[in-house]
């Protein structure tokens, strides 16, 4: 793994966590949407927080696609699991959501589990793949 590839994974984490947090903040301003009023979702796109959230998620999409071009799906997802911690911290300190000790333990288990996976090789080699690089 080169520095560029680590930076791509970091970008996946940063854009994903900030995008979700901006969306959550925007949707709290928009309020609950009933199943009978789903078209109101389009109106939610006009909320500035939702708009910035979508912009961040576009950055997430590009960096995610780049990461998937050099590593397995089952490597990229665990390797970017630190995003759950970032999201929890943003939810706690910015959105003032309550996180109980059990929820913190749950987040720790998720990060521990996905950290296990990240210790393996990043790419499964298949004959005929466009990308020939493997390993970590």
């Amino acid at each position: 793994m080169t520095l560029r590839k680590y930076l791509v994974l970091l970008a996946v984490v940063a854009f994903g966590a900030t995008g979700d947090t901006f969306l959550a903040r925007g949707m709290k301003q928009v309020g609950s949407i009933d199943v009978q009023h789903l078209p109101y979702l389009l109106h939610a796109l006009l909320n500035p927080w939702v708009f910035v959230g979508i912009f961040c998620l576009l950055g997430f999409m590009w960096s995610y696609m780049t990461a998937l071009s050099f590593a397995d799906l089952t490597f990229v997802l665990p390797a970017t699991a630190v995003g759950y911690v970032v999201m929890a911290l943003l939810g706690r300190f910015w959105l003032h959501e309550h996180i109980s000790p059990l929820r913190w333990l749950g987040i720790a288990l998720i990060v521990g589990g996905v950290g296990l996976v990240a210790g393996g090789p990043s790419r499964t080699e298949h004959p005929g793949d466009s990308s020939s690089e493997g390993g970590q």
Binding site: L23, A24, M27, L57, T74, L102, L109, V117
Partner: protein, 127 residues
């Protein structure tokens, strides 16, 4: 009723996100390393290959379904429930999808990690 809606949203988000990820991973595997491709052929060639992939558009379609389902869910539930629950369950379905459809090497270490993630999700949703 709101709890039921939240979990339906999580289920739709998880299935659509997993399908989207599998299609996207398939597309990017066929296209190759974007960084290397850009170095060798330039940004226009990268854009051409990315936009010419039908698997990529299938992936984006399912991701859009997951996105709107997630958006609805976020209007009912906390980010700290909706985010980790849907993302962690997506991780499990992704591991299955990657093994079945992408033939990735999902070994014992990765399955143990999946159990850790499931326990983590249970703790997150029951506390």
């Amino acid at each position: 009723m709101r709890v039921l809606y939240t979990w339906v949203c999580i289920a739709i988000t998880v299935c659509a996100a997993a399908a989207g990820d599998v299609f996207l991973a398939l597309a990017m595997r066929r296209i190759g390393d974007l960084g290397e491709l850009r170095k060798q052929h330039g940004f226009r060639a990268v854009l051409g290959r990315v936009l010419g992939s039908s698997a990529l558009f299938c992936g984006i379609f399912f991701m859009a379904v997951a996105f709107f389902s997630n958006l609805v869910g976020l209007s009912w539930a906390d980010l700290t429930l909706m985010g980790p629950a849907s993302a962690a369950l997506t991780f499990v379905t992704n591991a299955l999808g990657a093994k079945l459809f992408l033939h990735e090497n999902v070994d014992r270490r990765r399955w143990i990690a999946t159990i850790f993630v499931c326990l983590g999700v249970l703790l997150l949703t029951r506390s």
